[in-house]
Amino acid sequence: MKVREFAEQLNMEILTGQKGLEKDVMGMYICDLLSWVMSHASKGDAWITVHTHVNIVAVALLVDIPCIIIPEGIVVEEATLNKASEEDIAILRTSKTAYQIAYEAGKLL
């Protein structure tokens, strides 16, 4: 499923990365320890994290993560949005918790 459709189906706000919306979402990964995500997430995973600093974009690029999902309506720094936009990584946001997002995504993916 394309990131664009994924975001629409789960009713998520698209904060940045218009070009990234055409990438494919193949799975999901949830973790807040960046080094762990680097070594355990898989290519194509939509990644849920509460971190909003610019390193999340670096991790997404490294693992080939098409979109980062920010749960619970957390505010994302300008610098992170700019970097994600440059690198075509979509950042999506929703007021739901990671559990609720994963529960709904599980029915779609």
């Binding site: 080094s35 600093h53 610019v54 390193n55 610098a79």
Partner: protein, 188 residues
């Protein structure tokens, strides 16, 4: 904990519970040694040496005299995740110092967060305490001292809205000047 300012807030609360009247905060980023150090020093009631041994263990004691909650253990865990460590030194009736260091470039090193907002929050909550904040990048230093500000303010209370807002902006300007381009999350 999502950022270092939240940890700082926790440690400062410990100092206040320990009846400190002065709290000194030093944040030093040294790119050459790839090290970020945070030190919080207070002149509170301090801790007994047997209590100090177990200070980073949240399950060590549950007696009600315990004034340390999860603040220290969580701060230590954050430091450890970024190849750093935490040290607490304390002397009964003299004060306590909590020092944490982090590998500056480590991917799991938490970002600084909104230090200005943290200073605003603690000054509003406990305005009578003297806060001394120093930011250092080994070339340039920035200092904020609440007692100096109070002297300059004269009759105007430090908790007045405009003053608090100014303090937050002043601290964040300092963060930008000292740490811009040195901490990955602060743009120069």
């Amino acid at each position: 904990m999502r950022d270092l300012s939240l940890h700082l807030m926790d440690i400062i609360q410990n100092a206040i519970t320990a009846k400190a009247s002065k709290i000194s905060i030093l944040i030093c980023a040294d790119r050459e040694s790839d090290l970020l150090e945070i030190a919080v020093k207070d002149n509170g009631i301090g801790m007994e040496s047997d209590f100090l041994k177990d200070v980073a263990n949240p399950f060590a004691t549950t007696r009600d005299t315990r004034r340390i909650g999860l603040g220290i253990p969580l701060f230590e865990a954050s430091a450890n995740r970024a190849s750093g460590e935490l040290k607490v030194t304390s002397k009964k009736f003299v004060g306590t110092e909590v020092k944490a260091n982090f590998k500056l470039s480590h991917i799991d090193r938490l970002p600084l967060g909104d230090l200005g907002q943290t200073m605003e929050g603690i000054i509003l909550a406990w305005p009578d305490i003297e806060y001394d904040l120093t930011l250092d990048n080994k070339n340039v230093r920035f200092n904020f001292n609440s007692t100096d500000i109070k002297k300059r303010l004269g009759e105007v209370p430090i908790t007045q809205f405009e003053v608090i807002k100014w303090i937050g902006e002043y601290v964040n300007d300092g963060v930008k000047t000292i740490f811009g381009g040195i901490l990955y999350e602060i743009l120069s």
